[in-house]
Amino acid sequence: MSNTKYILGHFADPDDMMHGIEKLQANNISIYDAYTPMPIHGIEDKLGYKRSRLPIAAFCFGITGTLTGFSMIYYMLVYDWPMNIGGKPAFSMPDFVPICFELTVLFAAFGMMACFMYANHFFPGRAPRVMDLRATNDRFIIAIDARTNPYPDKIVDLLTEAGAVEILHNERKYVSYE
């Protein structure tokens, strides 16, 4: 048994890569992931990706922001230090709206960003890990997990047939930027 962990098929053309995905799927070969230098419409559906749950996170963060804003203003203006502003009651709702609104937006935006960074392993000072550097440049890459898919020769044949210009057998999952 070889030490190959991942088979990477390099394509020079996005349409060839899409056909490659179709071919592999038709032969019951599961695809680990696909990497492209630019977004390609329809690729999520083809790879069977589920929709992102980021909007749900955004909603939860937004609600948290609203409640934070509301309780902060309530504590300050009604409970801790009620003031007479223009003869209006201390607990008057129109006052609360701008602050609740702004904190909703702030929390939703920061929360979404934090979630996105966490889910994609982006942290300050951490070198990003990629499976092949050329996926950020000029190559469209299909990655296949060699250990869960038997018959590596068949995979190579299918990729070549679909128009792969280069096929790599990687023993490590990631290459680092260093």
Partner: protein, 411 residues
């Protein structure tokens, strides 16, 4: 999978305006005429002609706004060089083509109301500017250099004829594009659209100050123009989306799919929030400052006869689109989107009602045969004119340079 499916469409497809749609829109026009006749002749209450004029102004303004929103949508797509909408541009074009007719009707209503002293009598009344007259009003006298009949009518005519000219130009270039193809017409449209947006952005607030805000000439708000713009844009988008959905249900527009409706739904969702944002910005400043000359507007609308409608306005135009259209699935479900469009079209009728009636009818607002009948009549007239214009050209601008992008639109 929009990108990777290649289906062919019949781009010469034309809308056929006949059958039920035609019959019902004509019936609605007749109902409108009967309601106007009822309001002027049969209704014997004290303010009956004022009431009819207020309702006519409401619907005439609404009608013009929706058509202007069509021209604005076209211009916006050209300036942004947007590709997604290329396949559905014929619907806003049909709206824009009706704009000159709508403008003429609105001017007729305004002229008739002005000279019969049923509209704008707050600033157009005998002796308001005469110091020795018992009706003398120093506030109105101070504004008389702007709010006087000749200048007022001149502004209306200039604004509406500029909007109509640009609306016609934008549709003309698209029709020329059908004949010759190429990029020259598209480039011309972009230029015209830029000029139109600049003019519209600066004059539309003044136009709504004139048409609606001057009903209560003592009161003023600089937010009012934007507030009216938001109402114009949301109601225009709802009318457009509703037209597209109904055309799709009738079997037309095969190339417009869930992705395009999703984008229109996002527009409606976002601009409903924008409407509320502007509405609330106007409200909170007046509420906070609490200056009598400003609060008079909301004071009237807080009286028992309007309070319910005041709250209903916010529930329909803010809460319901936000809650119903929040999820992605809701925007992609045709029936949900259609329901929200109808709701918002009714909601913005109420919004305009709340702008006009407390100023013109005071504490005797009416809601009955006149209001409902005139609303139905204008809806019928809009449907009839718009569908007639729509039927005159193929349903897609097939030489639009970005059409291919629209066909493969996927979000």
């Amino acid at each position: 999978m929009g990108t990777h499916s290649h289906t062919t469409h019949n781009f010469n497809e034309q809308f056929e305006f006949s059958g039920k749609a035609k019959t019902w829109s004509l019936i609605a026009i007749v109902i409108g005429i009967v309601a106007i006749a009822y309001g002027f002749l049969i209704d014997s209450s004290e303010h009956h002609s004022e009431r009819t004029f207020a309702s006519l102004l409401l619907m005439g303004y609404y009608f013009t706004c929706v058509c202007a929103a069509g021209a604005f949508f076209l211009a916006l797509q050209f300036v942004a060089q947007a590709g997604w909408s290329a396949g559905l541009l014929r619907i806003p074009q049909a709206f824009a083509k009706v704009l000159p007719i709508a403008a003429v009707i609105l001017i007729l209503i305004i002229v008739a109301g002005l000279f019969s002293h049923n509209l704008y009598h707050h600033w157009n009344h005998e002796g308001l500017t005469d110091k020795n007259h018992e009706n003398y009003d120093p506030l109105i006298a101070g504004k008389a250099s702007f709010l006087n009949v000749p200048f007022f009518l001149l502004r209306q005519v200039i604004f509406l004829s500029i909007y109509s000219t640009f609306a016609i130009l934008l549709t003309k270039y698209s029709n020329a594009e059908d004949q010759v193809g190429g990029l020259s017409n598209y480039n011309k449209s972009v230029k015209v659209a830029i000029i139109f947006l600049v003019i519209f952005g600066f004059t539309q607030p003044i136009w709504s100050f004139d048409t609606i805000m001057s009903i209560e000439a003592h009161w003023f708000s600089t937010m009012f123009g934007w507030y009216n713009f938001a109402a114009l844009w949301v109601s225009g988008l709802s009318a457009m989306t509703l037209t597209i959905i109904l055309l799709k249900k009738a079997g037309y527009l095969g190339w417009v799919n869930q992705n395009h409706l999703h984008d229109l739904g996002k527009f409606i969702f976002a601009f409903s929030i924008f409407w509320t944002y502007v509405w609330f910005s106007q409200f909170i400043l007046i509420w906070y400052a609490n200056i009598p000359e400003e609060t008079v507007y909301f004071f009237k609308r807080w009286e028992p006869e309007y309070k319910l409608w005041f709250w209903l306005n916010i529930v329909i135009n803010f809460l319901s689109p936000v809650l119903i259209l929040m999820t992605r699935d809701a925007k992609r479900q045709t029936n949900t989107l259609m329901f929200v469009c109808i709701l918002l079209l009714c909601g913005h009728w109420l919004d305009y009602y709340m702008m006009i009636m407390p100023g013109s009818m005071g504490s005797h607002p009416d809601f009955g045969i006149t209001e409902i009948g005139i609303a139905i009549g204008f809806v019928g007239m809009f449907t009839f004119l718009m569908l007639t214009k729509l039927a005159s050209k193929p349903l897609v601008a097939q030489n639009h340079p970005l059409l291919e992008e629209s066909l493969h639109h996927q979000i």
